[in-house]
């Protein structure tokens, strides 16, 4: 199996590479945590791309049940069909709707299965998947068949830390925490996204960005994905060259800040800061 490394459009730090490769070798789910916008979800896609396989995504919502990942028994349709005298009702398997996990288990290739934002679901959700992720098999009660994975998929699980995950579940995972990238890594990341960006603009944009992250008391710190959006705006808007440069004079708020700052209280705070700065002079 090919080892996972940084790709042309995704920069992975060595520790992340190692965690991914360990998870692949040990055939264990990889649990990824980190600040929002540090590329957790993107990672799964890149792993799939880098080892040349497909990806099945299972996005978790607060109402998602573990069972939905396996299969669902569509009783309502069956009831309706029975009223209509449809002959399909004889075979119960007609009403079994396959879930994402089943899909992944059936694949002929070793594929990547992304379970996105597992912390959104109910607190018991991870516990309900213990056996399924461990043994990579489950039982369909309605049809009495046992489904087991043809090829154990590479399972990537992301979490935003909204809920604590149960210990029994954690024990079965490999864990990696994506740190907020440091400046040089950030530079690489931006370069990957905008290969043609001018050095000067990049360095000034990063100055603004990291300064902004330093501002104490921001409700939501801008993250990598916001930086990327912001630079995209800067480039597409063709702003005057010096606009980033001027900022320390009388602009505590960077131009086109809407992409960076997502909270109006934060905007107000920055404006107050700017006011105080000016008055200080």
């Amino acid at each position: 199996m090919k080892k996972f490394t940084s790709t042309d459009n995704y920069i992975a730090t060595p520790d992340l590479e190692l965690a991914v490769n360990a998870a692949i070798s040990l055939e264990k789910p990889l649990l990824i945590k980190g600040e929002p916008g540090t590329g957790k979800t993107l990672l799964a896609e890149e792993i799939a791309k880098s080892i040349n396989t497909e990806i099945i995504k299972w996005h978790i919502k607060s109402t998602t049940k573990a069972q939905q990942g396996l299969y669902e028994y569509d009783a309502i349709t069956r009831l309706r069909d029975s009223q209509l005298g449809d002959s399909r009702i004889e075979d119960i398997s007609n009403y079994i709707v396959k879930g994402k996990l089943w899909e992944a288990f059936q694949s002929d290739k070793k594929i990547v299965l992304l379970i996105d934002e597992i912390d959104k679901a109910d607190i018991e959700f991870p516990n309900d998947l213990l056996l399924e992720l461990d043994k990579m098999e489950f039982f369909v009660y309605e049809t009495k068949e046992n489904i087991s994975a043809k090829n154990r998929p590479i399972v990537i699980i992301t979490s935003n830390n909204e809920k604590e995950l149960p210990d029994a579940f954690l024990r079965r995972c490999i864990f990696h925490y994506i740190n907020f990238p440091e400046r040089d890594v950030m530079e690489q990341i931006v370069n990957v996204h905008f290969p043609k960006i001018k050095k000067k603009l990049l360095s000034e944009a990063l100055d603004v960005f990291f300064e902004l992250r330093e501002v104490p008391g921001l409700k939501k710190n801008p993250s990598t994905s916001e930086l990327i959006d912001w630079i995209k705006l800067l480039l597409s808007d063709d702003i005057p060259k010096d606009i980033l440069h001027e900022r320390d004079e009388n602009k505590a708020i960077p131009p086109l800040h809407g992409a960076l700052i997502k909270n109006e209280q934060d905007v107000q705070m920055l404006e107050r800061l700017r006011f105080m700065l000016r008055r200080g002079k």
Partner: protein, 392 residues
């Protein structure tokens, strides 16, 4: 060797299990890493530690473990610290002057050779001295030594060189739950207080009963309803807003916003240093005093009481009539406190002062006694314990 490592981690309070140790061994067998200490660090971390709040503990344990070199199995050392890595450490740290200072060892190769020889000779723990690998000596090997040509084999911070290793940097220090506390963390903890009970009035469909009744009916749908489940936990929060609490305002705000989000039945009051006959509803408008009697009459005994305060004051503020620094109180503060305590079933006190300092303050000690030992440190861990007690 790895078992010792495992035990060191266990000892430092990281929740890791045998299963994870076996995984680590398996990963080493599968050759996930080449022999590089840094890779070993990352690999063992991602297998043994499942929460970033333990990263700092892991870093410390790792550092302690690799500092205690002489306790190590030598075979492991030879296998796990490859020559290439050591050489790289050398090249990073040596300047020409350093090299000149060393007369006894002519060049890098020789030092390397000597290093390996020393490993083979050394069979017991060693500290000081000028030859063996250990700590604090003038030998070129080991940590904390004064030989400018030394090989640093793990030490906290940098002494002579800049060969800082990842685990010595302790970048995850503020993720440890004894240190950091944030709104989200508190929310997660407070969630454990949730108590779902069925309240009459609101109704939702009882599917099981509906199916049963319907089949009893021979297929005619008979819908059964049941009361909806709601989070019924009730909380009263009392915040100390005295001057000594100023450094903890942010902490209190975080607890407050987390609690407000989590509980519908939550009321909060302010006091200064200790509770007397009245508390404030609004810290800015202190003239609006809420009588303690009213609170006790209004809120039923199943409200959970959380005091937040540093309990740092003159002891007479608790024990004496007229002890309050702001007004004349007819009865000592402790009698008011006891009235609250007698009325409500569960009471805890969260104290932001670090636990290890409590014994040195008379008033903290006394307040702790009054709370019947239900004073907890205002860290995630402490809040966790408090919540566990409250939800019992």
């Amino acid at each position: 060797m790895l078992i010792d490592f495992f035990l060191t981690l266990k000892k430092s309070g990281i929740k890791t299990t045998l299963k994870e140790l076996l995984d680590l061994i398996k990963a080493l067998h599968l050759g996930v890493i080449k022999f590089k200490t840094e890779d070993f660090y990352y690999l063992s971390r991602s297998i043994m530690v499942k929460d970033e709040k333990y990263f700092d503990r892991f870093d410390r344990a790792f550092s302690i473990f690799f500092n205690g070199m002489s306790d190590l199995d030598l075979e492991f050392l030879q296998n796990e610290i490859p020559e290439e890595w050591l050489r790289k450490q050398f090249e990073k740290t040596l300047s020409k002057e350093d090299r000149d200072k060393i007369k006894s060892l002519k060049d890098l190769e020789e030092l390397m050779k000597k290093f390996m020889e020393t490993f083979n000779e050394q069979r017991e723990r060693h500290q000081g001295g000028d030859k063996w690998i250990g700590t604090g000596g003038t030998s070129p090997f080991g940590a904390y030594g004064s030989n400018p040509f030394g090989i640093r084999v793990g030490q906290d911070g940098n002494r002579n060189f800049s060969a800082a290793k990842v685990w010595d940097k302790r970048k995850y220090m503020n993720l440890d739950d004894d240190v950091e506390i944030g709104t989200r963390n508190i929310k997660v903890v407070l969630k454990k207080l949730r108590k779902f009970t069925r309240v009459p009035g609101d109704e939702e469909l009882d599917i099981d009963q509906t199916i049963r009744k319907t089949s009893d009916n021979g297929g005619y749908v008979d819908i059964v309803l049941k009361p909806e489940r709601k989070n019924q936990v009730k909380v009263l929060l009392f915040f100390d807003v005295g001057g000594s609490m100023d450094p903890y305002i942010r902490l209190c705000e975080e607890l407050f916003s987390a609690a407000k989000y989590e509980f519908k039945n939550m009321e909060y009051f302010y006091f200064h240093n200790f509770v007397y006959e009245g508390v404030w509803r609004n810290n800015e408008r202190r003239e609006e005093v809420v009588n303690l009697d009213d609170i006790i009459n209004k809120y039923s005994s199943d409200y959970k009481i959380i005091f937040v305060g540093d309990a740092s004051m003159g002891i007479y503020e608790i024990t004496h009539i007229n002890g309050s620094i702001e007004h004349y109180n007819d009865k000592p503060g402790e009698s008011y406190f006891k009235r609250i305590q007698n009325h409500f079933d569960k009471l805890v006190w969260l104290n932001p002062i670090p636990r290890e300092d409590w014994d040195y303050s008379q008033s903290i000690d006394y307040t702790r006694f009054l709370t019947e030992n239900k004073m907890y440190n205002f860290t995630i861990d402490g809040v966790n314990q408090a919540v566990r007690y409250l939800s019992k």
